[in-house]
Symmetry: C2
Subunit: 317 residues, 2 copies
């Protein structure tokens, strides 16, 4: 069985990355509490550097490279937020970042990568194309692959989100996080279950990209769904490493429809006056739309990011 | 000369309303600081109860009524945020609120008034129609008029925004606030100039609704402009009371175009991941678009509210 980082490793990652990231706010909304009958605690990684939690894992990976390794730069493939994060942290260390992005990634996310000095190579929007393109660059440059989630240092970095929210709100009954490749969810599940064994950790996934749900049901890694979801950050699939961690640590995967994603997103924008991206709304939807029984409970929700094209919003109902 | 509330009155208002309002966050953005060369401090009244600062003045007015006065209820006319605020605070005191709203007020704002139990009467979108409709209700019900800005208790309540930001960020060089009827700007100018005499207080106004700018230039109350602005909260005009305060306390009025309002709004949504309404963007625009010389200075910006129809956003460029 593959095993992930332990709590001590996640704490070490937190110490390593703290100077370069925000300790993000946890916001509450009395309107949304009234509506759900629960007490909701929103961990605002949309306010994080680069607009998403991805800077945590990327920074931990880049700062963990030796001087010798770092010189050769880093390469990754990503639908957007990991790309921007890796470009920024590589830029801060003064090393090159080669970023493979699917051609359908939002323009805002491509622009962010460029603004941090990342060098973009576009490819077809499939996992196979992404991996092949990254491999070609890797062979040419000798750079270090920083996979967006199949990487222990990245998982340890993402786990610092849970570390923080459990320091900020120690007595949570639930922790909800989106799941795609599983880096955030696996790192967070490790930290949360160590710090608070009775917490219920729930992965939240678009119905249209539900490989994690199906894999947890069948007990083996299932292939990608067609992945046509508005939650553009959640189109990747689990890898053996993240699946192994989730199987041991995650209590349940809840899937949400496209309409539910938009509804949850609209509720948060309207009531809380914060901008979150669809992938973040995926983690809020089960609580806001009462798909889990959280009445009277304390629910931590990881709002994973806030990057999206404002000119192309789904609110035209 | 008409005179406004003094600092002690604003402090008393703050104590009175504190249990019912949020002490809102002051947020910063390193991206926007880098872009402007200034240090910007955003007072987030978009996170305030009812989604705008208006709850401060309304609450101070309603809590200042005697038991005998309160029984007869309250009446006002408002393009939206004051309406929702008065409905909420009246509802909390258990007294009726009659709200006159222009027929073109955003649907979100009407829905908010209804959700707090306010009784809406619609009228033509002119100041004359609003005042006449309110007067008719007043005569019929004997309720207390809580004018959205021509009211000392309301002005004192709105001044608590400046009181707070100067406690949270004591060493500001500038304070920027939107101006419409002048309640927020006059109350804030009184508090700011008392607490920090050398602070530069700047009123920010849409070019398309620039009566305050023209009045300050000419030295007398000028009539309304045509008032076709996206900043739906800023379509009112100064009254003799607010004009008198502004003349003494405000250093400058800066006007901004419709395109500048949308640009500033987009910058804040994209970079800060918060939802602000166009009226709030009016106060941010002079700093973000370098219409004032704030390089190296500390600039307080009052983000007045965050209420708008998400289905009708101006970002389709």
């Amino acid at each position: 069985m593959l095993s992930g980082p332990d709590l001590a490793t996640i704490r070490a990652a937190h110490e390593r990355i703290a100077p370069q990231i925000h300790r993000t706010l946890v916001l509450t909304s009395s309107a949304l509490n009234d509506l759900t009958g629960a007490r909701l605690y929103f961990k605002c990684e949309n306010f994080q550097k680069t607009g998403s939690f991805k800077i945590r894992g990327a920074t931990n990976a880049v700062l963990s490279l030796s001087e010798e390794e770092a010189k050769r730069g880093v390469v990754t493939h990503s639908s957007g937020n990991h790309a921007a994060a890796l470009a920024r942290t590589a830029g801060k260390r003064g090393i090159p970042a080669w970023i493979v992005m699917p051609s359908n990634a939002p323009e805002t996310k491509k622009a962010a990568v460029r603004s941090y000095g990342g060098q973009i190579t576009e490819c077809e929007p499939t996992l196979a194309a992404r991996e092949a393109t990254a491999k070609a660059i890797l062979e040419k440059t000798g750079a270090n692959l920083v996979h967006p989630y199949d990487n222990l240092r990245v998982i340890a970095g993402q786990g610092t989100v849970a570390l923080e929210i459990l320091e900020q709100t120690p007595d949570l009954d639930f922790l909800l996080a989106p799941v795609s490749g599983g880096g955030l969810l696996s790192g967070s599940a490790i930290a949360a279950k160590e710090l608070r064994p009775k917490i219920r950790v729930i992965g939240c996934e678009p119905k249209n990209a539900d490989d994690a749900f199906r894999s947890m049901e069948s007990g083996k890694l299932e292939p990608a769904a067609k992945s046509e979801t508005i939650a553009d950050g959640l189109r990747a699939t689990l890898c053996p490493l993240t699946f192994s961690i989730l199987r041991d640590r995650v209590d349940e995967i809840v899937t949400v429809s496209e309409a539910e994603i938009v509804e949850a997103m609209r509720m948060i924008w309207e009531r809380m006056k914060i901008v979150i991206e669809p992938s973040a709304a995926v983690a809020a939807a089960p609580a806001l739309l009462k798909k889990i029984d959280a009445r009277g409970k304390r629910v931590g929700i990881i709002l994973s990011g806030g990057n999206l094209d404002l000119a192309n919003l789904p609110f035209h109902f």
